[in-house]
Symmetry: C2
Subunit: 242 residues, 2 copies
Amino acid sequence: MLFFTQCFGAVLDLIHLRFQHYKAKRVFSAAGQLVCIVNPTHSLQYAPTLCAAAQTSTEQGILPPCHHHEAVHDPQLVPCMCPLFSCPWEGHLEVVVSHLRQTHHINILQGAEIVFLATDMHLPAPTDWIIMHSCLGHQFLLVLRKQEKYEGHPQFFATMMLIGTPTQADNFTYRLELNRNQRRLKWEATPRSVLECVDSVISDGDCLVLNTSLAQLFSDNGSLAIGIAITTSKVHSSEAEV
Amino acid sequence: MLFFTQCFGAVLDLIHLRFQHYKAKRVFSAAGQLVCIVNPTHSLQYAPTLCAAAQTSTEQGILPPCHHHEAVHDPQLVPCMCPLFSCPWEGHLEVVVSHLRQTHHINILQGAEIVFLATDMHLPAPTDWIIMHSCLGHQFLLVLRKQEKYEGHPQFFATMMLIGTPTQADNFTYRLELNRNQRRLKWEATPRSVLECVDSVISDGDCLVLNTSLAQLFSDNGSLAIGIAITTSKVHSSEAEV
């Protein structure tokens, strides 16, 4: 009987996932778009990342540079930037992707335009939704974070980072798009490098920010579909040359 | 000497305004766009609007309908929706525009695409920046509000309302666009009718929401340029028919 109940539950889950997938595809109806269902990484005991730890140790609330900018002797070594884990790993940029895949089981997706479908948006803060995105010969890290900057008022922060140097990051533009209920919200920016800290990007608020009510307006059945597109930013690089 | 100082100050002000105007035009470089400099309406003693007054009188924090939905005997009469003023005026939709122009000196602008340049973004909350926008045979009210939803953390809320009925409002889509520092933020939605309350739109968060850090990233010298475009929403109306 227990076996039957479990099987039935699994079938229901599959139907639910298929339905979510169909709905996300319908919202972002461009042909050939890949929909990726991203489950949350929820930590009841918030494990401060290296950056957050560095921040705590600084007095007067002045934002410090990330840990790896001040304490790592080899400037080419980066710590694990996987948020919500206090992972002691550090390594070269070239091996960051394999570390994130193997140790933290973060998915990697191919394609210029994908749909990131974050499930269980109701989970309490802090919660992260993370995927990697392989595109235009580079790998990007998309982080959606639910965090309480002001106690009792969780907000959602979404940003894209290049697994590469800041100079490489300047060559790209990423776009995040929410589209539901006759409302559309688009954020376009140059990705930051993972050598900068995801925590400081979020605390600076230099990303797509959603309060709970907007997130609910864009969510469907507890899931938030974010359309992602990455392009090379020729305009920006030519502006920089002027 | 005093006269000379005042004249010199006025000339400096003019140069400053001209410079702001030029910069806003440069940011939104589409030909023929009208740039409107909007000064804030700041109220040190926050005068609750009729809606807010109705809200205060309701117990248990349940959001009440706007005052004019429950207390006005003639349903075609609307109160003055000019935020931050407790104006006792009420009248028919057809005379709202002339009331706002004559009593509250709110500018009205023509054109499908305009740039709204809000000055003095640093002023403490609550502050409003308001203009009317005449386009596609209708008049719209654009409200940018700085408000502290969470004490000590002011946010900016921008929304567009049709000076007309909700059914008429459903035929339009408005777009607000911020563009600066290699970042772009776009909000698209169906305008609300002024028969709904601007206060409840903002408290629901169903509008463009900016926290202070994002507002600073998009501001230039204390002024925020918002590109505004209004279109007829044929897609939405055909969707509604299905």
